[in-house]
Amino acid sequence: MVKKEVEPLLNKVQKPARYTGGELNSVVKDKNSVKLRYAFCFPDSYEIGMSHLGLKILYSLVNARDDAWCERVFAPWNDMEKLMRENGVKLYGLESGDPLCDFDLIGFTMQYELSYTNVLNMLDLGSVPVLKKDRKSLTPIVVAGGPCVCNAEPITDFIDIVLPGEGEEVTNELIDLLIEHKEKGSSRLDFLRQAAKIDGVYIPEFYDVQYNGDGTVKEYKNLETAPKTVKKRIVSDLNNAHYPEKFVVPFIETVQDRTIGEVFRGCIRGCRFCQAGFIYRPIREKSADTIDRQCHLISDATGYEEVSLCSLSTSDYSQIETLIQKLFKWALPEKINVALPSLRVDNFSDELLNELKKIRRSGLTFAPEAGTQRLRDAINKNVTEEDVIRTASMAWSGGWSSIKLYFMMGLPTETMDDIKGIADLSQKVLDIYYQNPERQKGKTPSVSVSCASFVPKPFTPFQWEPQDTPESLTEKQKHLLSSVHSRKISVSYHESKTSVLEGVLARGDRRLGKVIYKAWQKGSKFDSWDEFFNFENWLEAFDECGLTPEFYANRIRNYDEIFPWDVMDYGIRKDFLIEENKKAHKSETTPNCRVKCSACGANKLNGGKCDARTK
């Protein structure tokens, strides 16, 4: 519901339907009938935020309660922000139109480090003091969750409560507690003291951090009621976990504008570069019946033309073929498309390909991640060149005419030979097209190579590794371009300066709070968008704070260094990560969790259970 003062602005901005609310299935309650108001904030544009599954789950979960009302808040695009600031309009919840400062709980989901400045900007636009030390009353309480909070230290100046892990259960517990304290009229400190006793609740101000002379962490001392380390929360049984029966259907096209069925959490693969592969462990699968039922309900409630499945490495789902057949049974007659993202090259079967052929044919995407077998072994991407070639051959004969290959650059132990390997492998994928007698005549095949810059992340075997410098990455990009000899192969890569910032914030400590604050004051926001990213702002901010990006990004860390994120317990044993790191340097692989359990330790979060082994 849009307030009167907002309406005149809407005629002057791009895509005004981002700011109106009122979408189908959005939830409007009477604010006087609820005890707590929750603002779920996604620190990026409406189109990105509305695509996020976590938002859909928590929005539905909180609104299932009679005593609470959850609304959505996104970062306004800069045309709207400018008008809002000029006209004194505060950032508001899309359902009520009420300003952010009127809410009790303000929850941010931290999906990527480059959205941090948007958190500050949104709080400021919503008339909430940006620094937590300036927030004195009980409410609003600012909460943060999502993958980035496995190291929340850089944003602790702005956040009251950090929720590592999965939010379904802890959100309800926190809401119950805050309602109780609102009714009692408690102080902020009283509430935080009680909140710290809930499992999986991290209250940054209850930890005193000491640093060594060289800038590394000396000690984290827990104060008040806070535990020594905070264990991330997980949902044990996904079949009985809350899942929405309807999605809010946006008026404008968003990135993921379709029915999404969540298939499992965790990943059996253990690719050493991949943070998600470690921080979402242990594996918990949903049954095919549950997923099928949930997808059908949402499709009925939304009218979406497409269903897609969501998880890491979806084709590793133990009942994938059963599930796809179940979905096809109702989706095809109802003219609904079934999309399968994130396929692996090594378990891509003929059957799966045949199912895929029934539906729309866009390009196929595979991720070999590295150009040579040695480097693929070092990063534990258990994929051989044969796998890649066999899959490409199947795809070409299946009628696809374009293949996209994802690689990374700047991986630990990488040499120029590995870079050339990217070009060589791409050429082989292209060549196999012409060796295929069943190929479609008259079509030109294309291979597009997309290279991301590797960023070392907490809770991975590469958390000790120095990040490659922008200079070195530029050299490698040049080398790759000069190694590609076909016009049917196109190469694209990411801006390496954004990767530097991402790496700094990912493995940063509390001292970076000042840097983020200063960069925001200098106008930084939407840092993940090329048209907004301003590296100079950040360099100035570092300078003014007496810190350097190199300390965080390019330094080799010792195995015995205390990390800022050691305060979090994600189940994964540090010894396991050290072993994996050593194996990487010897180019030794580790089998996937289904073949052999490597005792990473994450199953202790689920009473010793892990679906990788039981299935």
């Binding site: 005149p8 809407l10 005629n11 005004p16 339907a17 609310g21 009122g22 008026f251 109802e334």
Partner: protein, 227 residues
């Protein structure tokens, strides 16, 4: 064109797009109806071939920011339906600011749209505004800057729209200046009311973005209500 025996009947859905729904673009409105029809489980004809999609024909695209009481979309039903019941079902599947007024057999083709009534509310009551507006609209020629296609490029061109304005009345409502105007409409000679507003804004100094536009009715060349 596919053979007509593949569907039972073609019907015209009349709907109102008001309030916040005016900020839904034409393309997004197409998506919105595709999904609403699916939610309402209305069996309609899909195009055939590689990429089947719901077959919908909108009479006219409506500009972003304009409210309307006379929008239509034609759909092809796969079986006979009670049209009144169908209208209720579809209405229930739509967001609140889009409302089905009726579903009936089409009487005219979209090509026969010739005129449309608009109500333009200027959110201000400046005395001189009505006088100025009258001066402009009663002049012997009314030149506006229109974006026209020249080959592939869009160029700005001055055109006289005097003969594209059939009639107008200037009134005052609740302290606002209101212009009721009938403009040329349709695929060929469509005049966007914002051209008239910009013309008035340009000379009078009012903020064109503050004017609200409501489309009320469409007519054929013979001034029969288009339906």
């Amino acid at each position: 064109m596919p053979e007509p025996n593949k569907w039972r009947s073609e019907v015209r859905v009349f709907y109102e797009k008001t309030g916040m729904a005016k900020y839904i673009s034409h393309l997004d409105t197409v998506h919105l109806f595709t999904r609403a029809i699916k939610r309402a489980k209305i069996p309609i004809w899909f195009t055939e071939g590689y990429n089947p999609h719901a077959f919908l024909t909108f009479a006219m695209p409506l500009s972003l920011g304009v409210e309307s009481y006379c929008e239509t979309v034609d759909i092809r039903l796969m079986q006979d339906e009670d049209l009144e019941e169908l209208a209720v079902r579809l209405d229930n599947a739509l967001p609140p600011d889009i409302h089905i007024s009726k579903i009936s057999a089409p009487r005219f083709s979209p090509q026969e749209i010739a005129w449309a009534d608009y109500k333009i509310i200027f959110n201000c009551a400046e005395k001189n505004l009505s006088l100025y507006m009258n001066d402009i609209l009663s002049g012997s020629e009314i030149t506006v800057v229109k974006k026209v296609k020249q080959g592939r490029k869009k160029v700005e061109k001055e055109v006289d729209i005097k003969d594209k304005i059939l009639r107008y009345i200037i009134a005052s409502e609740n302290g606002n200046t209101v212009l009721n105007i009938t403009l040329s409409s349709g695929a060929q000679n469509n005049i966007n009311p914002s051209l008239v507003i910009n013309k008035i804004a340009e000379g009078s100094g009012i903020d064109a973005d503050r004017a609200s536009i409501i489309k009320l009715k469409s007519y054929t060349a013979e001034m029969l209500e288009w339906e």
